[in-house]
C-alpha cells in the first residue's frame, strides 16, 4: 500500500499528497498501465492458405500506443499502426507481389491501423471491439486476447480471423479464392513492460513528429 511509505511524512497535507501520488504511480485506482513494447519478442503474424497449403507471414514493423488495465477497461485504449511495407513471408516473389497495387500497395496506403473502441471481458480473456483499416477500407473487428502481467512484464496473445477480400486485398486475378484463400488468421504476440508513469493520471503516448 502506498500509505505505508508515507507514514513518516509530516503534516497532513504533505502526507495526503504523498499518498495520492503514490497511488497514481502504483496504479492503485486501476489506471491503465501504458506499455513499452519489446519489438524483439513481439510479433504480428498471419497465416493464409495458398494452393491448398497453409503458410505464415509477419509484419516486421509496427508501433503501438496501448494503455490497458483489466480493472479499468473503460479507460484502457489501444492504437496500433503497422508499416505494411514490412510484410514478410520468406519468399521474395510473394513479398514483392504483396507490395503491388493488387495487394497492400504501401506506396498509397503505407499503414494499417487498429483502433480499439471498447474492451470487454470474455471468459478468462478479453475482447477488443476495434476498427481495422487496411488499404482504404475500415471495418469493425473483434480482437480476442489473453493478457497477463507478472513482475512488470506484460504479455498479450490475441487473434482475429479476417477476410482479405473485404479489405480489397487481392484484386484482379487474385479475387479468385480457389488458389489464394479468403481467410487470413492474424495472431498478435506482444511482450511489454509498464512504461514508468509520470504523476499524470493519463500519460500521453510518445509522439514522433514527422
Amino acid at each position: 500500500m502506498p500509505t505505508e511509505s508515507c507514514a513518516g511524512v509530516g503534516r497532513w497535507l504533505r502526507r495526503l499528497a504523498c499518498i495520492v501520488s503514490g497511488a497514481l504511480t502504483a496504479g492503485a485506482f486501476g489506471d491503465p498501465v501504458c506499455w513499452e513494447i519489446d519489438p524483439a519478442v513481439s510479433a504480428i503474424r498471419f497465416a493464409a492458405v495458398q494452393a491448398g497449403a497453409r503458410f505464415e507471414g509477419r509484419f516486421e514493423r509496427f508501433a503501438a500506443d496501448v494503455c490497458f488495465s483489466p480493472d479499468d477497461l473503460a479507460a484502457s485504449r489501444a492504437r496500433v499502426t503497422v508499416d505494411v511495407a514490412s510484410v514478410a513471408t520468406d519468399n521474395a516473389d510473394r513479398d514483392q507481389t504483396l507490395q503491388t497495387a493488387d495487394w497492400f500497395e504501401p506506396a498509397r496506403f503505407p499503414q494499417a491501423v487498429f483502433v480499439a473502441k471498447s474492451f470487454t471481458r470474455a471468459g478468462a480473456g478479453f475482447v477488443a471491439d476495434a476498427e481495422l483499416t487496411l488499404r482504404d477500407v475500415t471495418l469493425p473487428i473483434r480482437f480476442v486476447f489473453a493478457h497477463s502481467e507478472r513482475d512488470g512484464v506484460i504479455t498479450l496473445k490475441g487473434r482475429v480471423a479476417l477476410e482479405r477480400l473485404a479489405f480489397g486485398l487481392g484484386r484482379g486475378e487474385w479475387t479468385d479464392v480457389e488458389w489464394v484463400g479468403n481467410a487470413v488468421d492474424v495472431e498478435v504476440d506482444v511482450t511489454a513492460r509498464a512504461r514508468p508513469l509520470s504523476v499524470s493520471a493519463s500519460p500521453k503516448p510518445q509522439q514522433v513528429d514527422d
Binding site: 494452393a51 497449403a53 520468406d90 519468399n91 488458389w179
Partner: protein, 196 residues
C-alpha cells in the same frame, strides 16, 4: 526339347511392375510439361499462373515419390526378368548403372523439390487434400541451393530418360531381343542376337 532350352521362354515384368513403370514414366512427362508451363507463366509475369502450375507440379511430384516407394519395395521383392544371355558385360554394367540412377532420381527429384518448397515457405499440398510437413525452415539462400539441385537433377533425368528409351529401341530394333517387350503387356517373343 532341345529347341526350348536354346531359346528360353519370354519372361515379362509382372503386371504391377509394368503398371508402375508406365504410370511413373507418364507422370514424369507430365512433370516436365507442368514445370515448363509454370516457368512460362512466371516469365510472362503471371504469378497466379505460376502458382497454379507449380501447385499441380508439386502434387504430381509427391505422387511420383509415393509410387517410387511402392515400386522400389515391389522391385526388391520381385526380381527383374533376366537379361538376354547374349548381352555383352559392358551393356549389363551400363544398364545396371542407368537403372540405379533412374531409381535414385525417382526419389531425389521429388525430395529436392519438396526441400525447395519448404525453404521457399511454400508448403506442399497434395491436390489440396492435405499438406506435407516442411522438411526445413524457410531460407532464401537454401531455396536457391535446392532449386539449383532440382534443375540439375531434371537435366540428368532428361538425359537418362533419352538414354533409356534409346537403349530400349536399340534392343528392340537392332538387337531384336526381348528387353523392350518384357516391359510390354503384348508383343511376341523375338529371336534376339543369340538366335542368328
Amino acid at each position: 526339347m532341345a529347341l526350348a532350352s536354346a531359346a528360353p521362354a519370354l519372361v515379362r515384368y509382372g503386371g504391377v511392375a509394368q503398371t508402375l513403370h508406365w504410370l511413373i514414366a507418364g507422370l514424369i512427362v507430365v512433370q516436365f510439361v507442368l514445370a515448363n508451363l509454370a516457368e512460362a507463366a512466371q516469365d510472362a509475369g503471371s504469378l497466379l499462373g505460376a502458382l497454379t502450375w507449380f501447385a499441380r507440379h508439386k502434387s504430381v511430384g509427391m505422387t511420383i515419390l509415393m509410387l517410387a516407394c511402392i515400386r522400389l519395395a515391389w522391385r526388391l521383392a520381385h526380381p527383374a526378368p533376366p537379361l538376354p544371355a547374349a548381352m555383352p558385360a559392358w551393356e549389363r554394367v551400363a544398364a545396371r548403372i542407368s537403372h540405379v540412377l533412374l531409381y535414385a532420381l525417382l526419389f531425389a527429384m521429388p525430395i529436392s523439390g519438396w526441400l525447395m518448397s519448404s525453404s521457399a515457405n511454400f508448403p506442399v499440398s497434395w491436390f489440396g487434400l492435405f499438406t506435407w510437413p516442411d522438411l526445413v525452415a524457410a531460407d532464401a539462400g537454401r531455396k536457391e541451393l535446392f532449386e539449383t539441385v532440382h534443375e540439375g537433377q531434371s537435366k540428368g533425368l532428361f538425359a537418362l530418360a533419352v538414354l533409356h528409351v534409346a537403349a530400349a529401341l536399340k534392343h528392340h530394333i537392332h538387337d531384336r531381343d526381348d528387353v523392350f517387350v518384357r516391359m510390354l503387356p503384348f508383343g511376341r517373343q523375338r529371336g534376339g542376337r543369340g538366335a542368328h
